[in-house]
Symmetry: C2
Subunit: 476 residues, 2 copies
């Protein structure tokens, strides 16, 4: 577009506010005089405006995320990067002036990828082709010489079961893509991720010798996407690897052409003993009700591909930024607002339960828990996870979020890390974002800081800060 637009009225403008008259006004807004609901809404609107001005002026969440991904790199549970990340988070929270900054210890699984990840298509009418693969998190290694076998391609477990004896001694190639026609990419992801989670078990049950899984991603490229998988006690363990979508298409083409290529798969990954790590906490203690806690959380661990910038460095940077915004604006929330960076969501889910069950929880009352774990994209709203009236109660704030482009409030799962709290009756809120790009990067080398837009990331922090503030001042 050109510069001769006359009047492109804003979708997201706060009319008539102008420059914020400073912190003094804000302090009075935090405890607004009792009056009509409309006055209260207008007061809240000015808080929103102040959060936007401070947030978008500095875009500090992106600076925090840049530093986290730079000093720690990937942060797979039990890795050196995860250890560095814990130290970084403590340092960052302290430098932001947060209170009660601490680690709550827990033991985490330790799986290491090793040096070797290789898959070659050999024979079957073509030159040897190297496929871009990576071990799926939790997989056992192959023997040193690799697994070398013919391949059967299936789109589903049903199809696998129907093949019966033809699966024996074969590598099972799970090639069902994410359904591109589903607008919500998380729903599409859930429709495909069973192959990665349970493919090895299902293949082994039928006598397969390895599982090769089409990467669960929206991208067509040559980058494999990892993620977790599970073994079952009664079923032999076989190795499992993800193959890039381009590699999967190549292999599938050869099979469709009636070729019978063999694949040699070599992985050197290994599960080690559990190691100590911890959840990192910091807070602004409530001025009126210090024992009533609003948690804003994300997971500090990541997969070991890329640097987990969207998953879930973004959420961690936002959680810290929520508290920085509130402190910087001189707000004194009535209730405690606590950032919790959970360790070990990706491969084991130890952090959330450890937090919920820690002895430190005695005497604390969590009145809400927020989680951001859908990537650092433009916020659209919140899932609301609680009793049937909760959604109705929070919808009174919906117009405020609507003005920020984040007015969608709908019942839904709030987040893995806060699930144990939500199951105990704590109202949960999951940040919803524009998720079209998330699975392009997710669990792969592509998940790096250059994919995170500073304004989009910051807006996610701003809307979470606003929700924390509203719950703190008005309750739920």
């Amino acid at each position: 577009m050109t510069c001769v637009k006359r009047d492109s009225r804003s979708l997201l403008r706060f009319p008539g506010l102008g420059v914020l008259p400073g912190v003094t006004l804000l302090l009075s807004l935090v405890f607004p005089p009792h009056g009509a609901a409309v006055d209260r809404l207008e007061g809240h609107r000015q808080v929103a405006r102040a959060l936007i001005e401070e947030g978008l002026r500095t875009c500090e969440a992106h600076a925090i995320l840049t530093e986290l991904t730079s000093v720690a790199g990937h942060r797979l549970s039990g890795s050196r990067g995860a250890e560095i990340a814990v130290a970084f988070a403590l340092r960052m929270m302290r430098s932001q002036g947060l209170e009660e900054v601490r680690v709550e210890s827990l033991m985490v699984p330790r799986w290491i990828r090793g040096e070797l990840e290789e898959a070659l298509i050999i024979g079957g009418g073509a030159d040897t082709v190297s496929l871009s693969v990576c071990a799926v998190g939790g997989s056992i290694a192959t023997p040193e010489e690799g697994v070398f076998a013919e391949v059967v391609e299936v789109q589903s477990f049903e199809e696998l079961h129907a093949l019966g004896e033809r699966v024996r001694e074969k590598i099972v190639f799970f090639n069902r893509p994410m359904d591109p026609t589903i607008l919500d990419t998380f729903t599409a992801y859930e429709g495909a991720v069973d192959q990665r989670g349970s493919g090895a078990v299902e293949a082994a049950l039928m006598g397969g010798v390895a599982a090769l899984i089409r990467s669960v991603t929206t991208q067509l490229d040559d980058v494999p996407h990892t993620g977790s998988m599970r073994y079952r006690k009664s079923v032999p363990k076989i190795p499992a690897a993800a193959v890039s979508t381009l590699g999967a298409n190549r292999l599938s083409s050869l099979l469709q052409a009636g070729e019978r290529p063999r694949v040699r798969l070599r992985l050197s990954c290994e599960t080690m003993s559990d190691v100590p790590s911890g959840n990192v906490l910091g807070q602004i203690t409530g001025s009126k009700y210090p024992n009533e806690i609003i948690l804003v959380g994300a997971h500090l661990d990541s997969w070991d591909k890329g640097t987990g910038a969207h998953d879930n460095g973004a959420g961690c940077a936002q959680a810290i930024e929520v508290l920085r915004l509130i402190r910087t604006l001189g707000m004194k929330p009535a209730r405690t607002i606590r950032a919790v960076l959970f360790m070990n969501e990706e491969n084991g889910n130890r952090g959330g339960p450890a937090y919920a069950e820690a002895p430190e929880r005695a005497g604390e009352k969590h009145i809400a828990a927020l989680e951001s774990d859908r990537g650092g994209f433009s916020p659209r709203g919140f899932t609301v996870d609680g009793d049937s009236l909760l959604l109705q109660r929070v919808e009174r704030w919906q117009p405020l979020f609507e003005e920020l482009g984040a007015g969608h409030f709908g019942a839904g799962h709030a987040g893995v890390d806060i699930s144990p709290l939500v199951e105990n009756g704590v109202p949960g809120f999951g940040l919803l974002v524009d998720d079209q790009r998330y699975f392009d990067y997710h669990h792969s080398e592509n998940d790096t800081i250059d994919k995170v837009h500073r304004r989009e990331l910051e807006m996610g922090a701003i809307v979470q800060a606003l929700l924390c503030y509203l719950i703190s001042e008005e309750g739920l």
Copy 2:
């Protein structure tokens, strides 16, 4: 996030629809039996679902845009690229089976950048520094040896006027950034773009010898952003160039430090005689009311930096894709739906008025005009530009768009190209998108196809197709 999410309910799911039962059903939906409004809404919802399935399965808009930007490159009015783009658009519309595919001729301005764009900071306590600059569209050239002068920095025209005689013989450096604290980037753009549009005139009025303008962008990088500027008849013409934001910061730092560096600016741009070009049209003729037209438009020309992928190749690809979707799904719209790719929006705005005033308009009745010119990002809704009751009338469809994440309908300017129609009373609709990234790329070398996400672009086409369909079947 990991794979152990239990129940992340979708923001954007159409419950209970399942697989679409094919085109036969669709044809019956296009002419739904008369019934309750709720049935009609459910019918529309199934059309939306069909558009999504076809659109997101193929993402054809991105393929069209890839080809356009590849074969034509940039498409500045009067350039070889613009000529190729007209031929490409005709070929593409014909290959899609559109009707009445044609060019409506018009004369367009022709400005050429030339080979030379150079700005050097010389002296003032530093080594010679090369600034990343580009001529602003429409600027005159400098003398061959360049303009060589001291620099005065200002943030506004008021500040410039207050400097009085101190501006004489100086290069005026307009350094007011886009306000980052404004959430809506188009509003922030409008708050800064006066410097580019009128800076040369204002500087010349005060005796300045050239204008150097901070690039109007949300990015801090070393890429200059061009765009249009105007001269005034009574005021001497001086050359005008945009400088990258990093370059602007560098120059400003030197000036702030009390240095008095001189800048040598050399530009070789030139305005040539007008040349013939044209708007490109294609349509699906209405089955019931062929003379009632719903226009879906965008501008085919671009600036000559990058390949105008977002601005406005994206809108062009979407306009064609709107008609492809409707044809592919076997819909027979009651009214004519016409794609118009306007030539010359950026530097002269000839295409829109030429279309509105063409003799071909006689006997045609435009009942609505849509424009997409805010980039190929996730759609959020539409500006609605018309009489005071129009917004109310279209809000009956709002729930349908809400389900697509594009439910914001608000009064606002619809688009430059369709303005002449809107001024004549045709209801206008401007596609609103998530615009946080738009001005990172806008009018610069960064505006290339790799910045356009295929699903986000396609969703913009889908919501426009849905709006065209609704207006076609129900009127306004």
